[in-house]
């Protein structure tokens, strides 16, 4: 069953120097029960994309495209209507959320902000159970965010954002600031939450492909506002098709690799300005396999091994 559908979405930022084309034509769906990973480096548009789904606000401007949640069109909904879907239907943990908890409220009060007409006792009781699931003591309810470590705060944020059992949880870089042992624990908690039915589907956004690979069923790779490749996680990581995905994965050192034995190399150059992105394929200026055509014409969608790839190498 399809929970979410994003069709040809273009979201720009209006600046004094013109439009920054942060998301420029992205299409994908999210089905019930799956973890979709979105990978990309800084400036790829991944955060803008997921934030626009449920937290659209200026200076983001939707230039084109639609978003559907269970058949209901979200794009164009009034703020209050979208607010009703937030937390219950689609819940987001924005980047840096754990550092944005109100410092003057105890965790319990932050949770009660969700009550809005619901029974406060029930909500707190449920929070107690959920805290147990993430290995936190219920004492946390009476603590201020400053008293919690990074890993504890991130788990509190997870409990709050899933307390109303949303269909879709969007997690934006929630493990990036965590220590490696805490990161593994948080990733496993996300998986547990899905398996126990607290949440139905997850969109997990990160720059860390290795972390993504551990929990994602499908992976979507973004570059400079465009989707470059989307398919099942094993395929994208094990046999990447797009030259960008390939170069990115090759630049990651495996455990046990030392420079004296195998010298790795990064991708030369840096991502383009999205105020004035290059014509044709946006990766072409940095691509070692670029053809003449890549610099002038945008690559079409091509199916390669059941995977959507946007690259001229596969559609001559």
């Amino acid at each position: 069953m399809e929970l979410l559908r994003v069709e040809d979405l273009h979201v720009y930022y209006l600046t004094l120097r013109g439009y920054v084309r942060a998301v420029d034509g992205v299409t994908f769906t999210l089905t019930k029960g799956e973890v979709l990973g979105i990978a990309g480096e800084s400036g790829s548009g991944k955060s803008t994309l997921v934030n626009y789904i449920i937290l659209p606000k200026p200076p983001m401007v939707r230039v084109k495209g639609r978003i559907y949640y269970k058949g209901l069109e979200l794009t164009g909904l009034a703020r209050e209507e979208l607010g009703k879907i937030r937390y219950k239907g689609i819940s987001i943990i924005p980047q840096y959320a754990m550092d944005s908890l109100s410092p003057t409220k105890k965790v319990k009060r932050i949770i009660l902000d969700l009550a809005r007409g619901r029974s406060r006792e029930d909500l707190i009781e449920k929070a107690r159970e959920r805290l147990k699931l993430v290995n936190l003591s219920e004492r946390v309810l009476d603590m201020y965010p400053i008293e919690l470590s990074g890993g504890m705060k991130q788990r509190v944020v997870m409990v709050i954002s899933t307390l109303l059992d949303p269909d879709v949880l969007i997690a934006d870089e929630i493990t990036s600031a965590l220590d490696v042992t805490t990161q593994r624990a948080v990733l496993e908690m996300i998986r547990d939450f899905k398996e126990t039915g607290i949440i139905k589907s997850v969109i997990f956004v990160t720059h860390d492909i290795a972390a993504l690979y551990q929990i994602a069923d499908r992976i979507m790779v973004m570059y400079a506002g465009k989707l470059v490749e989307i398919g099942d996680a094993d395929g994208v990581v094990g046999n990447p098709k797009h030259p960008y995905t390939r170069a990115l994965i090759e630049s990651l050192p495996r455990i046990g690799v030392r420079y004296k034995v195998k010298r790795l190399k990064g991708i030369p150059g840096s991502p383009p300005s999205l105020l004035n992105p290059p014509r044709g394929c946006r990766f072409s200026p940095r691509c070692s396999e670029a053809l003449e055509k890549c610099r002038f014409e945008e690559p079409p969608e091509t199916l390669v091994d059941g995977r959507r790839v946007y690259c001229w190498l596969y559609s001559r």
Binding site: E41, D179, T181, Q183, A185, Q214, R254, I255, L264, G266
Partner: protein
């Protein structure tokens, strides 16, 4: 006689006082290690391990509570005048966030010119020549960088400028604190390769502070694993990370997401409840350790075990050889 180490850290301690109650946080707890000439040594640890505090003390940005740091056999806190300036020239730092290392209202040229003038007394066209050469050495095109303000450069470019600034004065030791963690994955490896080349071609020693195990594996000759201010395991990279003995090192390595292999079912990771290290009588890893037993309520010493040093009671059979 063993050759003198370039830098010796002996029984280094740093205690911070926090809050009105004056609660003591022991950030660095009797740490000793050497940095040899021409080696890349990584201090690996999670937040609260004390790794950055150690780096700041070596750079003389922070005074130790007790213990000594000897550079070529001389205590760095007793250096004065010309000797001190010479220390500042020979031991250079590169920090995590290049955007906060540079003053945003000045062009990047300024700190480069200042470094040469203040530490080497070189100015004018000769300074400019050295600057251009050094920028090329770190893989930058001088014409694309000089005359620019920090915000006009990408994170990767600016971090290279910051490395170039350190290299301008021909240092013997670079202390680099999480030098690539703010950079995109696709540019990280090229910055690490710069350090590798410096070591191989110019014999510069590098102390790298980090938390990313695979990056440290890639670049380092030796590794020190820190936990809550204490050394848990120390040795050659292949020994410590390739066949770890300490339960903490094992847990760290088990937690790394790998691109070539998926995690199996559930890990047995126990999370830390209180991250602030305080004075403790027993092993600091006790509450998270899957192998803890009655001995562990006493503090294990750092002992030599085969090809490494380790602080763990599981390897206590030769605990008389206390070398810490």
């Amino acid at each position: 006689m063993v050759a003198q180490a370039l830098l010796e850290v002996r029984n280094l301690v740093k205690v911070f006082k926090s809050g009105m109650m004056g609660r003591e946080i022991v950030a660095v707890d009797r740490v000793s290690f050497n940095i040899e000439e021409g080696e890349i040594l990584s201090l690996l640890g999670e937040s609260g391990s004390g790794k950055t505090t150690i780096a700041r003390m070596i750079l003389r940005l922070l005074k130790p509570t007790s213990g000594d740091i000897l550079y070529k056999g001389r205590n760095i806190w007793k250096l004065k005048g010309r000797e001190l300036i010479e220390y500042y020239r020979q031991v250079q730092g590169v920090f995590q966030d290049p955007y906060s290392s540079f003053n945003p209202i000045h062009k990047v040229d300024r700190p480069l010119l200042q470094a040469l003038k203040n530490l080497q007394g070189i100015e004018g066209s000769e300074a400019l020549k050295i600057i251009r050469e050094t920028l090329r050495k770190v893989g930058l095109n001088p014409d694309e960088v000089l005359g620019k303000y920090p915000h006009q450069l990408s994170g990767g470019q600016l971090q290279r400028v910051s490395i170039a600034r350190a290299l301008l004065v021909n240092p013997k030791l670079l202390v680099v604190d999480e030098p690539v963690s703010m950079l995109d994955a696709s540019t990280r490896i090229d910055v690490l390769n710069i350090f590798a080349d410096l070591r191989d071609n110019e014999g510069v020693s590098i102390l790298m502070i980090g938390h990313d195990i695979s990056l440290s594996y890639y670049i380092s000759d030796r590794i020190i694993i820190l936990y809550k201010g204490s050394i848990m395991e120390e040795g050659e990279t292949d020994a410590v990370l390739g066949s770890p003995l300490h339960p903490y090192t094992k847990m760290l390595i088990e937690s790394i997401p790998r691109i070539e292999e998926k995690w199996g079912r559930k890990s047995r990771i126990r999370l830390d409840v209180d991250q602030k290290p305080t004075a403790m009588s027993g092993c600091k890893f006790l509450d998270r350790c899957p192998h803890a037993f009655n001995m562990c309520t006493r503090k294990p010493n750092l002992i030599r075990k085969d090809n490494r040093k380790i602080a763990c009671w599981l390897y206590k059979n030769n605990y008389n050889q206390d070398i810490a």
